[in-house]
Symmetry: C2
Subunit: 278 residues, 2 copies
């Protein structure tokens, strides 16, 4: 056992060097790729994953049964892993996005991004941050989120940046499962009891104003996402909601009131020890 | 996509038949194995995993960095998976352990065990249930828990019950990682700063009275566990605590005050819909 216990890092938490998420990977930005744009894109996708992961994790231990508890925990973990890689990539591509910490701080860049930014510096869509509701709410949120994220990641598999391409390829496998899980439950709730259908429709109605933000002004992406959602709605016999998109976007740092408390909870331990030491 | 959406279960949560944890497995209790004893053992190990999983999951999103957040979530998920299999095995071996639900209820047996028992019916050790403390606390708790669980599961790999033997074999791989993670952090905190060492020793001191319960009256098991812990203490330069074991045992349903609130949180959704329907 002694071998495993090698090393004598004096940090209790940060910088223990157990594992660099991009260890051994060449993180040089390839010629012709705009480093700032690459970092901005990784930050958006990373923040989406990080914040959504927190909301799914809140469901852990509150799911209606063990099977779904495990499924939700698994999906939260997939997203947390994606977040870590994407935030690392953002920081390596453009160190300017990383918040300044006291000199000599051993906090890795991806942790600085996760734990030392304030709400207005986060670039996630608001769909990921709004408060949890009932089980129908988590199903609808995950469906809308996953359908759009899957379409995005499928494109990014051919990114000229090899790091992002690799992260996207891994993500496609994970998010396909998330979308299928959410789609299966969407259908189950739609075809279940009168009450389950009522709750599903209510959740869809409540979350729909946040949907347009997922595809932004990318018309091609929007059409692709719309086609998938329309298929799910058709199979389930649910009407596409007509509510208008909410103005503004989390991509610019304009968030709902729900993000602050989520971050406070997530960041409290790391911020209590900004030097990463006790 | 339509194929994936087949089926029209009218349950919104329970009994959707997505997956039976022991599907395709022969759950007949082999000749010579006492079914009630087998069920009791699976219940203890399953409850340990379930309750410990909840406490680890509470750490998700509060860990000091993304790497440990992911590690803790992974370990919580491993234990949740073990809990599900062990509770299923307990119920199949001796249906008498499953709480009675209204006739025709579609709640699977392992969910009935997780969500419809009260505190005094749980058989987990109290080490798993006590409230979370700081990061040193989760490290010490996981070290004590994993060293004992690993020794137990290693033995059960040769159980005459093939189902339990298979669950134990899978568990050994998972818990080996948990023990190594906790051991590595134990050493890191012990050799870190004065403050990290002080917190580690305080956590060890606080949790030590719960340690003896993990091995019960099994002297051979106790010796094995002691030897591993003594090695960790020696490498880390930490004294074995001298505090006496707490009287009573969670194995008899005598729990601390911490279990009730944990169960309330975990069971609220399932109990709000005991028929598994909206």
């Amino acid at each position: 056992m002694n071998d495993e216990f090698a090393g004598d890092s004096s940090q209790w938490a940060f910088g223990t060097g157990f594992e660099d998420p991009l260890a051994g990977v060449d993180t040089t930005v390839p010629p012709g790729v705009d480093a700032a744009e690459l970092a901005a894109r990784c930050l958006m996708l990373g923040d989406d994953a990080l914040i959504m992961s927190q909301r799914l994790a809140e469901w852990c231990s509150r799911a209606p049964d063990l099977e779904e508890d495990i499924a939700l925990a698994n999906m939260a973990l997939d997203l947390l892993g994606q977040a870590r890689l994407l935030l690392s990539r953002a920081a390596a591509a453009d160190p300017g996005v990383v918040p300044a910490l006291p000199e000599g701080s051993p906090v890795p860049a991806e942790d600085a991004l996760a734990y030392f930014r304030d709400a207005e510096q986060f670039r996630n869509v608001r769909l990921a941050e709004v408060e949890n509701g009932d089980f129908a709410h988590v199903v609808v949120r995950l469906l809308l989120f996953s359908v759009a994220r899957l379409a995005l990641l499928e494109r990014l598999r051919t990114s000229r940046d090899q790091v992002l391409a690799a992260v996207a390829a891994k993500g496609v496998k994970e998010i396909t499962y998330h979308r299928d899980w959410a789609g299966r439950w969407f259908l189950t709730l739609a075809q279940g009891t009168e009450e389950s259908r009522r709750r599903l429709v209510a959740a869809l109605d409540a979350l729909w104003p946040y949907q347009a933000e997922l595809t932004g002004f990318d018309v091609e992406l929007r059409d692709e996402v719309d086609a998938v959602l329309d298929q799910v709605f058709a199979v389930s016999g649910v009407e596409r909601p007509e509510r208008a998109p909410l103005p503004g976007t989390g991509r610019d740092g304009a968030h709902t009131d729900a993000l602050g408390p989520l971050l406070a909870e997530m960041q409290v331990v790391a911020r209590a020890h900004p030097s990463g030491r006790w």
